[in-house]
């Protein structure tokens, strides 16, 4: 028998489906605690481990704060640009300010073995992959 009217249950189910899809999407998930875009990062992999490199020239080590948890690394700090008191400024291109950035790497990080190096204005935290996260090879018996 041909249906002359659309099934009211059909639209109800459709609504339910749409709502479910919305609820399960990542759209409403809480994002990273730090949403900044500075500093720009380059991520490298060395065997199992990751290195996140960023250019942060002229920072004091005390003004830099690095936090690692699970698979997230957060880099935050303050960059200061100072001039002598009685100076006339001709050109100003360097910027000062706060920054706060977090990035997720695709592996769990062993937070105890993280080594952060800051040399010549380049920050390079070395993030070793956690032992429990490494793939295990299975020997054939």
């Amino acid at each position: 028998m041909a249906m002359l009217f659309s099934d009211p249950f059909d639209s109800l189910f459709n609504l339910q489906k749409t709502l479910d899809a919305f609820r399960t999407s990542t759209w409403l998930d809480s994002g990273l605690s730090a949403g900044g875009t500075y500093p720009p990062l380059n991520v490298f992999r060395k065997d199992d481990d990751f290195v996140v490199i960023s250019e942060l020239p002229g920072l004091q080590k005390a003004d830099l704060d690095i936090e690692v948890k699970d698979n997230t690394i957060r880099i935050r700090g303050t960059k200061a640009v100072t001039y002598p008191e009685k100076a006339g400024l001709h050109r100003r291109e360097r910027m000062a300010g706060r920054f706060d950035r977090a990035i997720i790497v695709p592996v769990s990080i062993n937070a105890d073995k993280v080594q952060a190096e800051y040399r010549d204005g380049v920050l390079a935290p070395f993030l070793p992959r956690a032992e429990h996260d490494k793939p295990r090879s299975i020997k054939l018996s």
């Binding site: 942060l56 300010g97 204005g121 380049v122």
Partner: protein
Amino acid sequence: MVAPQELAVQQKKELTPKEEKTVPARYFIPLTDIYETDDALTLVMEMPGVERKGVDVKLENDVLQVEGRIDFAKYDGFEPVYSEYNVGHFTRAFTLSNKIDQDGINADLQDGILTVTLRKAKQAMPKRITVN
């Protein structure tokens, strides 16, 4: 002191060379502050990743040419997985006026910041005239 602002990303400006470069690498223009005090003119350049031995400051025909070279060997064995900025050498040229004492140029590199201090020539220094 003003409350610190949220830092925005400053895109690195690539150099458009007047002459062809023969080095197979990119060159960028370092962000530079120039300020003047009573006895000197100071150039402050951001050259992250440049070591002391990679810096070259030359003065020729009133043009101060600054170059900072990156040691790419540090990236050996690294496999890039995600990239937001380019890495390259830095270079910038400044034309100096005759107010600069060309023998009194001093350069210092600290944490990727190159500070070039240009002492002013004697005749350009402010003079205090005592009133009789």
